[in-house]
């Protein structure tokens, strides 16, 4: 088991290295560089540009830059971000927890609600409830993330004024609040961005869960249970659900890239200071170092998420062993 785990970890490292190399090549093949992207003032003299190009090592041959880059990634430094004037690791260290918070809350809500909705639908298959919930989840499932975020912003922040439109906490009063008020303030600011992200994922989970349950219900053990005279409710809750959770675990692994991608739009609409807004900024300023770091960290997150999903799978289904 441990050997297999190690092997999966090694595979993960290879994947991350491939991603790092790919992004490095892409970024350097493209026109433009971080210095001219940041020093946009046309009056900046060429000497200053050259100075910064030299200091950032952008005048080195490509293979040397690549080598510098790999060593700094390996040491966890990710190099220096010129537009931020700080080590990339410091910039990421601030953004990552914010994104994880947002995603964590969204995932918990989405999987809880999604599984519940899926179960309700499966129990009432073909009934109006199933139909209504199905249409509802399909509706949100079919919605572009940025569009939903914009609509939420318009309706709840602008028209109804129920929730704050942006930020993570009250910029002024937060410093003067007690611990409970602070927690409440943070939650208050989480509602719209996390809610938007959660809605999108709930829809996917519910759809997935419903069809998984229905599929399991056709299988032998469910038929047996039914034949034993157990009620439909018991069949679903006791027997089918556990088996039907397996695909949900798979979905958890699959949903991560989509969730991280969706957070690019959701974060930028709600000005959430996480990896998503960082990405958009890094792109606009041609921040090579930061952008490659974002892509690498994201892919590392996904790889880790998949590993966790595999472990969960092995735990939930004794028939499955890692690597088989």
């Amino acid at each position: 088991m441990i050997a297999l785990l190690l092997r999966r970890l090694a595979q993960g490292v290879v994947i991350v290295w491939l991603v790092a190399t790919l992004t490095f090549l892409l970024l350097h093949a493209a026109p433009g560089d971080p210095v001219s992207a940041t020093l946009t003032d046309p009056l900046t003299p060429p000497a200053v540009r050259e100075y910064w190009v030299h200091r950032l090592g952008l005048d080195l041959p490509l293979h040397q830059q690549y080598w510098h880059y790999l060593t700094s990634v390996a040491s966890g430094g990710f190099g220096f971000s010129f537009p931020h004037h700080r080590p990339v690791s410091a910039v990421l260290a601030e953004a990552l927890p914010n994104t994880l918070l947002l995603m964590g809350v969204a995932i918990v809500i989405a999987f809880a609600a999604g599984i519940l909705i899926g179960v309700v639908q499966a129990r009432r298959k073909g009934k109006p409830v199933d139909w209504g919930l199905g249409i509802g989840s399909l509706f949100f499932y079919s919605m572009p993330d940025f569009w939903l975020a914009l609509m939420m912003l318009l309706v709840f922040a602008y028209w109804l004024r129920l929730f704050p439109a942006s930020g993570m906490f009250d910029p002024v009063m937060y410093g003067f609040m007690g611990p409970w008020a602070r927690a409440a303030d943070r939650l208050w600011h989480l509602v719209l961005p996390a809610g938007t992200l959660a809605l999108l994922v709930t829809a996917a989970v519910a759809r997935f869960q419903r069809s998984a349950l229905l599929e399991v219900a056709q299988q032998d053990f469910a038929r047996t249970a039914r034949a034993k005279g157990l009620g439909e409710r018991a069949v679903i809750w006791r027997h089918s659900l556990r088996n039907a959770l397996l695909p949900v675990i798979t979905l958890f692994g699959l949903a991560l890239p989509a969730l991280l991608g969706g957070s690019v739009f959701v974060e930028s609409v709600f000005s959430w200071p996480g990896m998503g807004t960082l990405t958009v900024n890094a792109i606009a300023t041609r921040d090579y170092q930061l952008l490659t770091a974002v892509v690498i960290v994201t892919s590392a997150l996904v790889v880790t998420g998949n590993l966790v999903a595999d472990l969960l799978y092995a735990w939930a289904d004794p028939r499955v062993r890692l690597g088989e």
Partner: protein, 314 residues
């Protein structure tokens, strides 16, 4: 006048195609053979059939857009007096900041968004099928290396990959956009196909063909690909829905379809800065996206149910 004729023609074409499909579905129910029976099953799924009608109607409208629109989608007749008009009989869905007719742009946008999505998906389905079939068929070390590459590609959120590519190369003509969308969308398909191929290649007919000395290419093309077609068709239908959303997102970020060509995504972008007051500019393209994507998803679900081999004998 000619516009009325065009609309009538448009309706007629849609009705004819739908009626023909309906008849085919009805007739298929008495037929045997896996594809026929799948068609019959699909036909019984009313939601999927209605969704298919919707998509067909949208495609016909998109194809005939130049004859259907009341105004040119890029004309700016009076950028001061006619801008930001709310919906009225003269401008069904209002006008935007440059006095362009939103309804006309919506129809042209359908043309752009749908064709980009379909072309991109054809590309990704082809590349993904070939790559997956090759990996699955050759197996072993080749398969391991090919799949690691897929793992790496799948570990980057597609939108992040697309943003990176598109922003780095700055200006993207439509053809390149299709290529980029197509070449970033095939990783999932290839995995699907590989799994299918792995199970297929141990089957009798493949083993037999190999024993008879058939060439790899012929075996892949003749025996394996036809059998992996149905999951690919399902994935492609759902993929179209996905690409429509992604294209909208990219155009919203200003790195997708280039103005003044309307796409649903950049139409939303046109209205976003004044969403609170001039809401019609971004509301209608948004609804168009949701409706179309929903339709494709329903069709995809319907196809999956209809093509599911476990149901073939059940």
């Amino acid at each position: 006048m000619s516009r009325v004729v065009a609309w009538a023609l448009c309706a007629a074409i849609t009705v004819v195609i739908c009626a023909w499909l309906d008849r085919a579905g009805r007739r298929a129910s008495t037929d045997t053979g896996p594809w026929r029976r799948a068609l019959a099953r699909f036909h019984r799924n009313r939601a999927a059939v209605v969704a298919l009608w919707m998509v067909l109607a949208a495609c016909v409208v998109a194809a005939l857009a130049p004859w259907l629109v009341p105004y040119s989608p890029t004309a700016t007749p009076d950028i001061v007096a006619l801008k930001n008009l709310s919906p009225s009989s003269a401008h069904l869905l209002g006008t935007d900041f440059a006095s362009r007719d939103v309804f006309s742009r919506l129809l042209y946008g359908a043309r752009v968004s749908l064709s980009i999505a379909m072309l991109a998906i054809i590309l990704s389905a082809t590349v993904g099928t070939l790559y997956g079939a090759a990996a699955g068929y050759y197996g072993g070390r080749v398969d391991a290396v090919m799949m690691r590459i897929i793992d790496a590609a799948l570990s980057i959120p597609r939108i992040l990959l697309l943003i990176t590519l598109l922003v780095l190369w700055g200006t993207v003509p439509m053809a390149a956009l299709v290529l980029v969308l197509g070449f970033t969308g095939w990783f999932g398909v290839s995995r699907l196909v590989r799994a299918e191929v792995l199970s297929l290649k141990e089957r009798d007919m493949v083993v037999a063909a190999r024993a008879l000395g058939a060439r790899d290419r012929d075996i892949i093309l003749r025996h394996i690909l036809p059998n992996v077609l149905s999951p690919v068709v399902v994935a492609a239908t759902l993929g179209i829905a996905n690409v429509i959303i992604i294209e909208a997102g990219l155009s919203y970020l200003g790195i997708g379809v280039r103005p003044p060509v309307p796409s649903w995504g950049n139409m939303i972008q046109d209205g976003v800065s004044q969403m609170a007051t001039v809401w019609w500019v971004s509301l209608f393209p948004g609804l168009a996206i949701v409706a179309t994507v929903m339709a494709f998803n329903i069709i995809g679900d319907g196809l999956r149910d209809a093509l599911d081999p476990r149901q073939l004998d059940g």
